[in-house]
Symmetry: D2
Subunit: 433 residues, 4 copies
């Protein structure tokens, strides 16, 4: 059984591409892989994929059935096992359909390699995963990762490999001054100071040096430090990040503009997220949580244009599994300074919400590569909580920025390429062109 198979319902416009998942056996990656195979075999539709809508489907995206999956993980597992665990916990993956794709999943298992857990933080260490690899130095680790990626490409004869970081959130990193320049950073990687780097940075570097597109779906900003972006540009690879926007923050970025449109003053926006699952367990560790909260918290004042009282809580509730529940309370002031409120409860399954967004991002990354675009993809800012180089959090602006891109693609017009955002540099946003 081969690790890919075309569905008849999907018009194939191009050759096969690799999708390399960092955190390959996590809930999101498992849902993504199983879902993609179900779509490829015609067992499921494409709800949740923006690239499947009338507005976008005519672009030259790779078919889902043309994606060949592989990845790194520090845990030893199998997709069938991981998917069955998800069925038991959330009932999101249907048992009968899993039976049909059983061999596809087994074939993908053969392409999962031991992962790198360097400095991934206390909560990841707590998972006591046994399939992480040890390397003599960060440079050696990057070399090994790159070798895995290239081997995967060669064995499957793939046009490219899109690398996607869907691993657990790491604690925040301190950016060394060398991270602003690709050559300085290459030298830095050989020093002993580099031992402080976290795994996500090494993955980002490896993908960039291979010239493979890289999507950072986590809040680990270090995956896309300016030096890493610059390496990607040097090798002609598009990159995008950070931190997929799939739940409470998505609602925030859609709803906050409403208050601006009515000159209603938002006094307070409290948000409480509760979730179980491995992701929730890792985030329940304060060091890991801080990176996530930071990513979620900046959205509101950027949209509204003034400071306000906000709070973003994340608490671990094992019984919920992947059914993330969020309660937001918005206190606002209207005419004659009268106070009113809006509250919402969001009940979504994180992996179900994120998986199609990752598929969309893979397709946009590959489309950009085909068009010869490299560096930051600001066009996909609507999919991220902290879009790099983008100072616009209003979901509607972000969405229309994506439509602008699509129109240019359709008209075969150029789109800025080779972009890098240094800290504070804004490519799209408040000072919109």
């Amino acid at each position: 059984m081969k690790n890919s198979r075309k569905s008849k319902s999907e018009a194939t416009k191009s050759g096969r591409i690799g999708v390399w998942l960092l955190g390959a056996y996590g809930g999101l990656a498992t849902t993504l892989v199983a879902g993609a195979r179900m779509i490829a075999r015609g067992l499921s539709g494409t709800t949740g994929l923006l690239t499947a809508t009338d507005a976008l489907r005519t672009l030259d995206f790779p078919a889902v059935s043309d994606m060949v999956f592989g990845g790194h993980d520090i845990r030893r597992a199998s997709y069938l096992e991981s998917a069955t665990e998800i069925y038991a916990q959330n009932r999101t993956l249907d048992l009968q359909k899993l039976e049909v794709i059983r061999e596809d999943l087994a074939a993908i298992d053969a392409d999962i390699r031991p992962g790198c857990s360097l400095n991934c933080g206390p909560a990841v260490r707590g998972l006591k995963a046994k399939n992480g690899f040890r390397a003599a130095s960060p440079a050696a680790a990057i070399e090994r990762i790159a070798a895995d990626l290239k081997d995967f490409q060669a064995r499957h004869r793939l046009e490219t490999v899109v690398v996607v970081n869907v691993a657990s959130t790491e604690p925040p990193s301190v950016e060394p001054k060398e991270a602003s320049d690709s050559d300085a950073f290459r030298r830095y990687l050989k020093t002993s100071a580099a031992k402080r780097l976290r795994a996500s940075t090494l993955y980002g570097v490896a993908a960039a040096e291979c010239g493979f597109p890289f999507i950072n779906f986590t809040p680990n900003a270090s995956s896309l430090w300016p030096a890493v972006q610059a390496m990607a540009v040097e090798h002609g690879a598009p990159v995008a990040g950070n931190d997929g926007k799939t739940g409470e923050t998505l609602v925030k970025s859609a709803l906050a503009p409403m208050f601006k449109y009515r000159n209603l003053q938002v006094l307070t926006w409290q948000g409480y997220n509760i979730l179980g699952d491995r992701d929730g367990l890792v985030l329940s560790n304060p060091k890991h949580k801080s990176a996530k909260v930071k990513s979620k918290d900046g959205v509101l004042s950027r949209i509204l244009g003034y400071p306000l009282h906000t709070h973003v809580g994340i608490d671990y509730v094992p019984s919920l599994g992947d059914q993330k529940t969020a309660w937001d309370f918005i206190h606002f002031q209207g005419f004659l300074d009268y106070k009113m409120s809006l509250q919402f409860t969001w009940q979504g399954c994180d992996a179900i919400l994120a998986a199609p967004v990752v598929l969309d991002l893979i397709r946009f990354a590959e489309l950009a590569r085909r068009r010869g675009e490299s560096g930051l993809m600001t066009q996909v800012s609507c999919f991220f909580k902290s879009p790099v180089g983008v100072d616009e959090h209003d979901l509607h602006f972000q969405f229309h920025h994506l439509l602008d891109y699509a129109r240019r693609v359709q008209a075969k017009k150029a789109w800025p390429t080779g972009r890098i955002a240094r800290p504070g540099e804004i490519l799209f946003g408040a000072h919109r062109p």
Copy 2:
């Protein structure tokens, strides 16, 4: 004491204009009048007025302190009495500030005239109001209304009088075929068939024939039948409607696009509104409710582009007064057809939300008049549940349409004028220019 006084904080750019309120002693009108006077006297800020934000404040709007108020009502009352009742019920109007504007309110009382309650429906009849006027025929009623308007203009030497319908919702009207043409409708008004017309139509005709801007803040579509719009165009008056969008529908129109941006399939959108107050009492009558529900219900499928299960409930809960509470439950399907939900509870005070929107509309209407624009103001569609001639319910599109207008005004560029929308005719929306 004069019925107007300038606040020092407001730069006055122009002469005084009249604001004529249909339903002058209702909760919304009272909040509007009291709030405007508080702003004029520097007792309150302008939160809730979009026209007071940085994006718009430089346009040539009339100052709030330059507005002179009058109106029609079928109930005998006084503003101090009505405002004190609102304090007791909702605490929205501050007692101490009411004391300061006591004489302003008394002066406005002198400009309230007996209203017309022709065919206003069973619930309005049930109010047993004693200050309605009787007229020999619809034509005579229109004449009397017009005389009141002109007398008001003359006595206060006003540049114009913006007429605003903030009366209770009437039962729906059947549009006679003559209502599509101004001359045919003028003839129809003299026939006995015209006795079926409801008061809101007569008010609309009177304003149009006087060449006064008319804003229909209610769902009574008959105020703006094509013939009425045509009369307004003939006399150079701008018009806008229908039905102010201030609560649950506002949230809907901001939130629904989010599902489209993610290709999440909305299966069900149930909305339940509960409110007290005279408005709630009138809407608890099924005949009156039907007009309102119709106005609220079309929004979703227009935004999403497909039919879905929707429900809009309105129930009368006396204890709430004007504190409208709405619960919406949204059931949607994502990747692999997995079902998830979002629910929200909106707790707002209707009059507090609506009053600044009415002030914004008055200012836009007067701005249009000054610029020589007549007929339908599609630029203000973001303020209405059922914007006439507009097939766009996405709040963000509507808002950006308004910003487009503002940019044209600032650039002293033309904007289409003399527009009328016949049934099914779309001036802005799905087939956007």
Copy 3:
């Protein structure tokens, strides 16, 4: 394969009893039958069964594994089919466990007989079920039902057959004056006037005349008119009803006392229920809904002791299936008449909530029969929205009434037997002994 099998984990204290389900292929009955077989085979625990808690488990209840199932239905179906449909819709029944009890379910199918749909109302007619039987007269229908029950008992050599009405809600019935006396009602059944009777009455009569315990889990009060209760007493059978309390009303009856304990004045209690499923479809018909709403609506003023503004809405939302969602808004007044609010959202699966309550009721009915008690079982009032003969809706009082009963049973003490409640007659409640 036999229609019963003991689980080793259940101590068997007695012989086998029949459980006869009216509406045997409905969602509740299917969940009940499948769940009981899963418990019997040790595939599932007893969460949800009050009779399985430490407080009650030592009473002489029949084991779940000793229950033999049969029933009437007007639809032709099979349990495996019905259960698989439930899996697809709600995922409440696990596919792998259904596989294990596949033969048990098939055996029970052999004991389902064509049902009676006489005057069941327009929505039931709308289901176009094809397995209803036609009888020459109500008396003939009763005879046929009784024959089915006795045949079931004989074939399986059962100690008794507990008859449970879990069919769809019928429209309300008008109680004829003859329904207050058993003999008068027997004569009435032979007249042509009896043709107006609804199926639920005929089932109630048949069970009573057979001396079989009868549990009316629906709001069809006619199942337990005084004459029917009297027949049950004459034949030594216990009866209980009406309308299982499993969701929003359960929460109401637990929460309303809190306001009384603090002298907080409840001004308004609005409740909105949304649900899909066949049950929701039937209730979306106004005639059927009225019986249900009446049953739900009396609870609050009885608990609080004063009239208040209440509303109970039930709306059909197909996408929800059996996942009933209810939003309740409670507006109350405290010290210095200040208004505050509490709102809750209940998200439960109706069949999952009801099935264990039905099992509890079957066990209490059989316990009563063994103890020689007949007529109304007021001890189980906590399980009903409209407990017959009981004027107490406070869940806590009701629960402690049940504990009182349990203590008497354990102490082998008598409990009043042979009770009938005529309209307005109160056996337990406001005038508590």
Copy 4:
């Protein structure tokens, strides 16, 4: 103007009593004092007072109009000022009624003395209050407090003085071993180790040594260490605590039993409280919050009888003022281990909810004193989050325990007196008599 005046609507059954408030100018104390005077003058009803209901009103309680108010505070203020601030913030106190009781409030101001802030914690220090007194030693502080109390009694010729702790929550205290015995503790108070004691302990001792009833409405358990209870018994004074149950915890204790009554397994109960106000500010300090959270957290597992995942969050939201809002999410498992949920949002004003409860407690304390009862009042456990000596958190049990007491009072029967609860000792609860 005298600091008391009888309302004609209140039957006076006895002489005047003093009410001494610790934290006299706080929001709760101000609402209590203003509300009591409004009731005394017939400006307001008694909603919220359980002692005003039919079930209890016939007991020999002191009239609200017979209460004479005084207290300690570390802030300098006046009641009119404090009450006007509350109006501006929450609108709970009506301006027009405040005008009527203006002189009553001024008279009470004359009875407020500088308070003790010894070891009240960092957040109270942060308030930078300027009216705290300094004492040479804890013993000297107790002496000064006692002198203030006795002086108050003498000047107003009061039968007794009920001392009520409504001050801010202190950080938790470590109980010294000497706190289990009154004499040992009296000796300890003279040692330098006693300098660690917090103000609330000193107040508790002073009241006990004066023989004045003491109500600890805060979670500061140190106010009622066994030694302090013993002192109260020695001087014939009743005492009660800890921590008034007025909001989210009240709902919890009413609702949790429902799950037990249905054998529904509660998996998770997450609670999030948000509030502004001085109380919220103090609780936003982690040291102060810990005492509060501990008090709120034990309720659930005690009611349900098994451990479960719980969380109690308290966050400071300035814009809310005293309008405490709480969201609770309850995840539970039913039949066949299916998971369901209930969530509620509580929106109450803390002072409005607490003030009548304090009045109820004062009345019960005085009733106990009149009946010669001393030591712990277990009868009022329903009013506390952590009732001392009581291992019963089910609100319904607690309420019926109070009714039992009332019946005994009415029947002039004895009730256990002279009770002290040492740690772990249970006077009422799980092992109910």
